[in-house]
């Protein structure tokens, strides 16, 4: 019988194999390219593009592009995506020349910064223009990097989504789980780069190498189809006995999959198994069966199988899927700070007109005394003079109370008098942030309590406001004369604005459940079965039903 060598023949179909090009943009991108260069895992043209000439100098990529050399003069984009974009547009021709004549172009970038977010969409567009397939591997910034960076990243992401054929998105937050807490940050980033490099390699092998059961780019896009989805990626390679199981275990260990737990929710999962000549059907079957445990029945499994002589006696398993951001976050543990804020939020009542007024009044009143006390002390201590800081705080804090005042309707006569009182001391020097914290919490609580006492009449409100004026005014006078920092005054305003704004931003409507009398179980979680609150006495409910 004539042996028909499958691998040979399929290789003949695409003689040289696809020409791959990997472009790393910005700091994160160039790190990944470095990693790939070092590991020599993919046969591809490696290009590093950056605005910062120093980073380029360190880069190990064979081709380096300095973005916007004239514009940027070799300095980084400084976190401004607009600059990054401009720089990329300046170097358009150079980029086009480098990426031309490739079949698949990978673009790797860390989103959120200047060069990555700004230049990546431009480069993707250029790459698309050359007629190649464009795959983008991007990372989203760590949550500690702040909201602004995240917004920049989201913006860039939107642009990239339009231009790339497939988008593999990594959540940096999850990368933290790659390593042990005690490991250095260096290692964390190394691991992250390695993971991205691995995924690049895997995607390129999956889409380019011939296989027994071939997976194409279409499969990859299906697997990554979730809107605003983050990539779940796992890769494992093992050799020796039990190699299938071992490789799968390694693949599932990837933190991006969360020990396989995240796979429970996926709709589509791409599985690629590659092995040397010795790969057996039983092994493949075993792996798939084990994998089946982690994946729900209705999941669409895109299965690929490839024989790669280079692997020798090893098996490599790649899992790729994606999950919507919301699902991913739901899976993560709840954010801790919410606990701290809760009591305040609960206490903030339904928006009633009198309530904000009361709030405005209460705090200065109770803090009038501390102000005086502190002032007294400051007589002995020489005041630290730092005018620039004063200005800074003024500029931040002054606008805050204003909307609050505007909100107030001048229905009460007294109000007009005392309303400006809370924001009065902007000219007063600020205090270090640490000093604020202990003061602020009791104020907020007190406010909440004041707000809760809805029954207290308007008269009492007015009365309070009067006391406010009498008690609050003298310290203020002293204050100016001493030209001294009175910390509580500033903080009071803070607390006021926080709570006062709450009702406005809280559109939640009251749900009329409390109408019925639940007696002893008033404060407990209601036991609702089929729309009936079972804590309400049975006879009461029956009576109601009969009446109907």
């Amino acid at each position: 019988m004539v042996e028909y060598d499958r691998s040979q023949s399929s290789e003949g179909a695409s003689k040289t194999g696809p020409r791959i090009c990997i472009v790393g943009i910005g700091g994160a991108g160039s790190n990944v390219v470095d990693r790939i260069t070092l590991d020599r895992i993919v046969e591809a043209t490696l290009i590093c593009a950056h605005t910062d000439v120093r980073v380029l100098g360190h880069s190990m990529a064979p081709v380096k592009i300095q973005l916007g050399a004239e514009l940027m003069k070799g300095i980084g984009a400084g976190g401004d995506p607009d600059l990054g974009r401009e720089a990329a547009l300046f170097s358009r021709e150079q980029i086009r020349q480098s990426v031309e004549n490739h079949d698949i172009i990978f673009i790797s970038a860390g989103l959120g910064g200047g060069t990555g977010s700004g230049a990546a969409p431009v480069i993707a567009e250029i790459a698309k223009g050359t007629g190649a397939l464009v795959l983008v591997v991007a990372t989203m910034p760590f949550s500690f990097e702040g909201r602004r960076r995240l917004a920049q990243a989201e913006e860039a992401l939107e642009l990239l989504q339009k231009r790339a054929d497939a988008l593999v998105l990594f959540e940096n937050n999850r990368m933290g789980e790659l390593i042990l807490p005690k490991d250095g940050i260096q290692k964390a980033f190394n691991q992250a780069d390695q993971l991205i490099a691995q995924s690049l390699r895997a995607v390129s092998t999956i889409t380019s190498t011939p296989g027994l059961v071939k997976l194409g780019l279409d499969d990859l896009t299906t697997a990554l189809a979730a809107t605003n989805g983050r990539c779940l990626f796992g890769f494992g390679e093992a050799r020796g006995q039990n190699r299938g199981t071992e490789a799968l275990k390694k693949a599932l260990k990837s933190p991006l999959i969360d020990q396989g737990r995240l796979l429970h929710q996926t709709r589509t999962l791409l599985v690629h198994i590659a092995g040397g000549e010795s790969l057996t059907l039983v092994e493949v079957e075993g792996v798939m069966k084990q994998l089946g445990r982690h994946v729900p029945d209705q999941t669409h499994i895109l299965f690929g199988l490839g024989v790669d002589a280079k692997l020798g006696d090893a098996i490599a398993i790649t899992l790729i899927s994606s999950l919507g951001l919301s699902q991913l976050n739901a899976h993560a543990t709840a954010a801790p700070p919410s606990e701290m804020l809760q009591p305040r939020a609960e206490a903030a009542p339904a928006p009633r007109r009198e309530v904000p007024v009361k709030k405005a009044v209460a705090p200065p009143l109770m803090h009038a005394e501390p102000v005086a006390e502190l002032l007294f002390k400051s007589e002995e201590i020489t005041p630290p003079a730092h005018p620039p800081a004063v200005e800074a705080v003024e500029s931040i804090q002054e606008p805050e109370p204003e909307p609050f005042i505007e909100e107030e309707e001048p229905t009460f006569l007294d109000e007009a008098e005392f309303a400006p009182a809370p924001p009065a001391p902007p000219e007063i020097a600020p205090t270090p942030a640490t000093a604020r914290i202990p003061v602020r919490t009791p104020v907020a609580r007190e406010l909440a309590e004041a707000a809760r006492a809805k029954e207290s009449t308007l008269a009492s409100v007015v009365a309070r406001s009067v006391t406010l004026q009498t008690e609050f005014a003298p310290p203020q006078d002293e204050l100016i004369s001493f030209d001294n920092p009175p910390p509580p005054a500033v903080t009071t305003i803070h607390a006021t604005t926080i709570v006062a704004r709450k009702p406005a931003s809280d559109p939640q409507q009251t749900f009329s459940l409390g109408e019925e009398d639940r007696g002893r179980f008033k404060d407990t979680e209601p036991s609702i079965v089929q729309g009936e609150d079972l804590d309400v006495p049975t006879w009461m409910r029956l009576k109601k039903k009969l009446r109907r």
Binding site: H264, V282, K289, R293, A330, H331, T333, A334, D517, G519, R520, F521, D523, T524, E525, S527, V529, L534, D535, P537, T538, W539, M540, L542
Partner: protein, 405 residues
């Protein structure tokens, strides 16, 4: 000689907090050494709402139990309940490798793991995962699969899970006493160990622990736990209904319910009046007995119907019927109402006889805490045998920790 171990069970109930100290002999017998009880404050529907009050009450009960049993309690088995606790059955299927026909320990472990890897909400935590049975090649009710020939091994699991935060709250509350929590047990699972006999479990039985705050149930079929759960309604609701119907304070309503109340109102002659007295014996007013009973009956029936709704699909196979336990099971006529609701035999039962204070185990109020002792014993007997060296090490550790404390 049989060596005995002393366990303590703590149940933080809605009506009472109860600490039971029991001695489990190696031969399986249990002797109750002492019971400490304190009225409960700050617990609603089986869940702690006021930490400090509960801690005071637990302390009270603990001191009493220590006094009576003459045992210093450091570790307890904690019984928990609450509306958040849910259960489900799951089956794990494991196919043996091709070159192997005999089931080994590893295969059983594998099947168990598959069965246990059921997805529960992220916020939840497993309380129990009980093996119900093994199935070898489709043959059900295999108790011991190791060593059998087979191709496919399946493990049936009953999994009880609850919201992590709430379970942890209970544990934290007890830890601050300070007491060490050895294990957390879902109350009815513990109670069933002493209320249901092995025979009843085999025939199929539904145990309802009708407590003050919650109505917990466990259903056994063919000796296997099949369903369990908690209806967050209980005796408190009955009292509350009475209080609101008669417009009397809760405390008085509770007394009226316990002393005079019944859930049977058909036979009560019309016009029979009951006088309501206050603490000094002064007559406050009169109510019609039939009215009181009707209010109680409506609520009791409703609660039992809620239980019925949850176990409906298994009701056909209960040979031993229903076992009512818990404080409310002492209420007059509750068994008749239960029979009306479920349509099968109803038995009111306390704990099965154990030696010790007789009044304790006969009272259905103590089923759950005594069950905790039994549960602890069962748990320990399932634990792997520790080598003498290890046991010595553990003893030393205990000793050291006691010194540092």
């Amino acid at each position: 000689m049989a060596k005995s171990t002393i366990y303590a069970g703590l149940e933080i109930g809605t009506h009472k907090i109860c600490v039971v100290v029991g001695e489990a002999k190696r031969d399986g017998a249990i002797k109750i050494l002492g019971v400490g009880q304190a009225p409960s404050r700050g617990v609603r529907k089986g869940e702690i709402v006021d930490f400090e009050k509960v801690q005071t009450c637990v302390n009270d009960a603990l001191v009493r139990a220590e006094d009576r049993s003459d045992v210093m309690i450091r570790n307890v088995f904690l019984g928990v309940t609450g509306a958040h606790i849910e259960s489900l059955n799951n089956r794990g299927r494991h196919r043996l490798p091709d070159d192997q026909t005999e089931i080994t320990e590893d295969d059983v472990e594998e099947a168990k793991e598959i069965a246990r890897s059921v997805s529960i909400p992220q916020s939840n935590v497993f309380l129990h995962s009980v093996t119900r049975q093994y199935i070898v090649d489709g043959v059900e009710a295999v108790r011991q699969p190791i060593g059998r020939e087979g191709r496919v091994l399946e493990a049936d699991y009953h999994i009880i899970h609850g919201i992590r935060g709430r379970v942890q709250n209970a544990i934290r509350c007890v830890r601050e006493i300070p007491l060490e929590v050895e294990d957390v047990v879902f109350n009815p699972v513990a109670a069933a160990q002493v209320v249901l006999t092995r025979e009843a479990k085999m025939q199929g039985a539904l145990m309802i622990d009708f407590g003050a705050g919650t109505c917990d149930y466990v259903l056994y079929e063919d000796g296997m736990i099949t369903a369990s759960g908690c209806v967050p309604l209980g005796g408190d609701h009955i009292t509350n209904d009475v209080a609101m119907a008669l417009q009397i304070p809760n405390g008085r309503a509770e007394r009226l319910k316990v002393e005079e109340g019944s859930v049977l109102y058909d036979e009560v002659p019309e016009g029979e009046m009951l006088s309501i007295e206050d603490d000094t014996g002064l007559v406050l007013g009169e109510v019609e007995r039939a009215f009181l009973n009707e209010v109680m009956n409506l609520r009791t029936k409703e609660i039992l119907i809620q239980v019925r709704v949850r176990v409906e699909e298994h009701l056909g196979r209960l040979g031993a019927g229903i076992y009512l336990t818990g404080g409310v099971s002492l209420m007059k006529g509750v068994d008749a109402v239960a029979r009306e609701v479920f349509g099968i035999k109803v038995t009111r039962a306390g704990s099965a006889p154990v030696s010790g204070i007789t009044a304790t185990f006969e009272n259905p109020q103590y089923s759950a805490p005594i069950g905790l002792i039994r549960y602890a014993q069962i748990l320990d007997s399932e634990k792997p045998f520790l080598s003498p060296l290890k046991r010595l090490g553990r003893r030393m550790q205990e000793l050291l920790s006691s010194v540092t404390l």
